[in-house]
C-alpha cells in the first residue's frame, strides 16, 4: 500500500514540476536573466565606447555614484516626485472614489470623466499635455501658459515648469486609476458597515477616519505602492513631457541618459539598481497593511 502511494506521490510531484515549467521558463527568460545581466553589468565597465571585453570592477560604479551628485540629485528629485504625486493622487483618488460611491444623477458621466485619463493611451495624452503647457502654435492658451511658464521658471529656475508639468501629468493620470481602484475597494465593503457608522455619528470626518480608512486600508496600501512605483520607475512620461530637455532628472531618466546617451552601461545599471532596495523596503512596510479583512462567512 505504502509504496503504491509513494509512487503515486512521486508522479504527482513530477507532474507539478512539468506544469510549472512554462511559467518558470518565462520568468527566467524575461525577468531573472535580464536582472542578472544588469547586476553583472553594474559590476563591470561595459560600454559601447570601449573596445575589448568588459572588465570586472567590483563596486567601483556604486562607490562613485554615492560619492557624487550624479546619484544624489536624481535621487532627491525622484523622492520629491514620488512623494508629491503619491500624496496628491491618493487624496484626489480617494475623493473621486467617495464621490462615485454615492448614487446621484449623472454618475455614469462623472465616472467616465474620472476614468478617462487612465483609459486613454498615455503616449497620446502626454502630447496633449505638452502642447497645452508649451503651445507649439498660438492658441487661446498660448499667452497665459507662456506667462505661467516664465513665472514658474523665473522663480524656481529654468526647467521648473517642465518638472511641474511632469508632476501634474502624473497626478492627472494616476488619480484616475487610484480613484477606480479605491472605488472597487469601497464597493467590496458591505454597505451596512458604513450605515452602522451613520447611526452613531453625525460627523462625516469622524466616520471617515474611524471607519472608512481602516476598512479601506488594504486597498490604500496597494494604491500607495502602485503610485510610488509608477513614480520611481518613470521614464517615458518625463522624457516626452520635456521633449528630452531634462533639467530635473529622476533616477529613471538619468540612468537612461547615462546608458543610451553617454554609453556608460556600468554606472547606469548601478544607478537603476539603487531603486531595488528602496522599493523592497516600501513593499515590506506596505505588505503588513495588505492583509485584507477576511470576509465574514455568510
Amino acid at each position: 500500500m505504502g509504496s503504491v502511494k509513494a509512487v503515486g506521490r512521486a508522479r504527482d510531484i513530477r507532474l507539478a514540476y512539468l506544469l510549472l515549467a512554462p511559467a518558470v521558463l518565462l520568468l527566467l527568460t524575461v525577468l531573472a536573466y535580464p536582472v542578472g545581466w544588469e547586476v553583472w553589468t553594474s559590476l563591470t565597465d561595459l560600454s559601447p565606447l570601449k573596445d575589448g571585453a568588459p572588465e570586472y570592477v567590483g563596486f567601483t560604479n556604486y562607490r562613485r555614484l554615492l560619492a557624487g551628485a550624479e546619484f544624489w540629485r536624481p535621487a532627491l528629485v525622484t523622492v520629491v516626485y514620488a512623494v508629491v504625486t503619491s500624496g496628491a493622487k491618493l487624496a484626489l483618488g480617494l475623493g473621486f472614489a467617495l464621490l462615485l460611491a454615492r448614487s446621484f444623477r449623472g454618475r455614469a458621466l462623472v465616472f467616465l470623466a474620472v476614468f478617462l485619463p487612465w483609459a486613454y493611451p498615455a503616449g497620446v495624452s502626454v502630447i496633449g499635455w505638452y502642447w497645452t503647457l508649451n503651445p507649439p502654435t498660438t492658441t487661446a492658451y498660448a499667452p497665459f501658459m507662456g506667462h505661467l511658464k516664465y513665472a514658474v521658471d523665473g522663480t524656481f529656475g529654468t526647467g521648473a515648469w517642465a518638472f511641474v508639468s511632469v508632476i501634474l501629468f502624473n497626478i492627472w493620470r494616476g488619480s484616475s486609476f487610484i480613484g477606480v481602484l479605491l472605488l472597487a475597494g469601497i464597493n467590496a465593503v458591505p454597505p451596512e458597515l458604513f450605515e452602522c457608522a451613520v447611526l452613531e455619528s453625525k460627523s462625516p470626518w469622524r466616520r471617515f477616519w474611524l471607519v472608512t480608512v481602516p476598512l479601506l486600508k488594504p486597498f490604500l496600501a496597494l494604491a500607495v505602492f502602485l503610485s510610488l512605483t509608477s513614480a520611481f520607475a518613470d521614464l517615458a512620461n518625463v522624457w516626452m513631457l520635456t521633449a528630452g530637455r531634462i533639467v530635473f532628472p529622476i533616477i529613471g531618466t538619468h540612468a537612461y541618459f547615462l546608458a543610451i546617451k553617454a554609453g556608460q552601461y556600468g554606472p547606469a545599471s548601478a544607478l537603476s539598481l539603487t531603486l531595488v532596495p528602496v522599493l523592497l523596503g516600501v513593499l515590506l512596510v506596505l505588505f503588513r497593511l495588505f492583509d485584507p479583512p477576511r470576509r465574514e462567512a455568510a
Binding site: E192, E195, C196, V198, L199, E200, K202, E296, A298
Partner: protein, 363 residues
Amino acid sequence: MAQVMMKDLNKKYDEVHAVKDVNLHIRDKEFVVLVGPSGCGKSTTLRMVAGLEEITAGEITIGDRIVNDLPPKDRDIAMVFQNYALYPHMTVYDNMAFGLKMRKFPKPEIAKRVQDAAEILGIQELLKRKPRQLSGGQRQRVAVGRAIVRHPQVFLFDEPLSNLDAKLRVQMRVELKRLHERLETTAIYVTHDQVEAMTLGDRVVVMKDGWIQQVGEPLELYGKPANRFVAGFIGSPAMNFVEVTVADANGALWADTPGFRVKVPLASAGRLGPYRGQRVTLGIRPEDLRVATGSDGADHSFDTVVEVVEPLGSEILLDLKAGPNVIVARVEPTVRVKHSDKMRLALHPERVHFFDNKTELAI
C-alpha cells in the same frame, strides 16, 4: 415613553413606490414584527425609522419627537443588521463600544456597559477576539450587544437571524424574546419568516407591495386573516384555497365545487348571502381538516384520493385530490394511507374562511 408612530408614511424611489400610506402606532415596550415577502417595503419602513432612508411623505414620531429631520444619531435608536455589520478591524470589545466611543462617552462608563451587555449575552470570553474568529451565532450576539450597550429607546432589527442555520435560528429566536422581556425596550423587527413573526411579535404587521395588509396579534392574524394574502402567508403549510359557487338549497347556503359541496356554517351564512350564485374563494387550513368518522355528517365531509404522503413524525401531511382540487391536510401520525387510497375528509365548519374573488378581502 418610547412609542413609535408612523403617519401616512410613504417612500418613493424614481420608479418604485416602495412604501404606501403606512399608518402604525407601536406602543411603548411593544415588540412589533414587520413581515412580508421580499420587496414588500418592510425593510424600507424600518430604514426610514432608523434614518437611513429619507421619508418621501408622512411623519415618524419616536417618543414625543418628530424625527423626520433628525439625523440617525439623534433618534435614540439602535439597529441590528442581517449580516451583523461588525467591523473586521476591531475586537469584539471595540465593536460593542463603537457607538459609545463615537458619542464620546467616558471610558469607565463604556467599559461598564460593555461588560454588562457581554454578561447578559454570555460573551465575556470573546471580548478580545476579532469578528473573523467567531461563529455566526457569536457574531450575532456581538451585534445585539452593540445595540444593547447604547440603551436606546427603540431597537431596530433587520432580519437579524436570516444568516444563521435553522437550528441556531430557533435558539436565537428564544434568546431575543427573553432579552426583550428583560430589557423592556420597544422593538421593531423585520423578517420574511412568518414563524419568526408569530413567535416573537406582540403584534405582527403583514405587508405586501408597500401596503400594510393587516396588523394584529399573532393568533388574530392566524384565526381571522383580513384577506386572502394574509391567510395564505400566515401558517405552514399554507391555507388551502378552493374556488366555490355559493348555492342556495334546502333552506341553507352551500359552497359548491366539482369534487365537494359543504354547508356554509350559520355564522358565515349572513355575510355570504349577497354572494348567492356567485363564485368566491373558500379557505381552509390543513390542520382544520381531518379523517372523517361515522359521526361526521355529509354536510361538511367529502371524498378524496391520496396523492402524496409526507410523514413528519409528529404528524402526516397529505396531498389529496377532491375532484379537480388539490388539498393539503394535516392528519394524525397514526393514519395509515398510501398513494391513490380513497379517503373521506371532514372539515371544521367553524374554521372555514371565505374571500371575495375580486377584492380578496375576507367575507
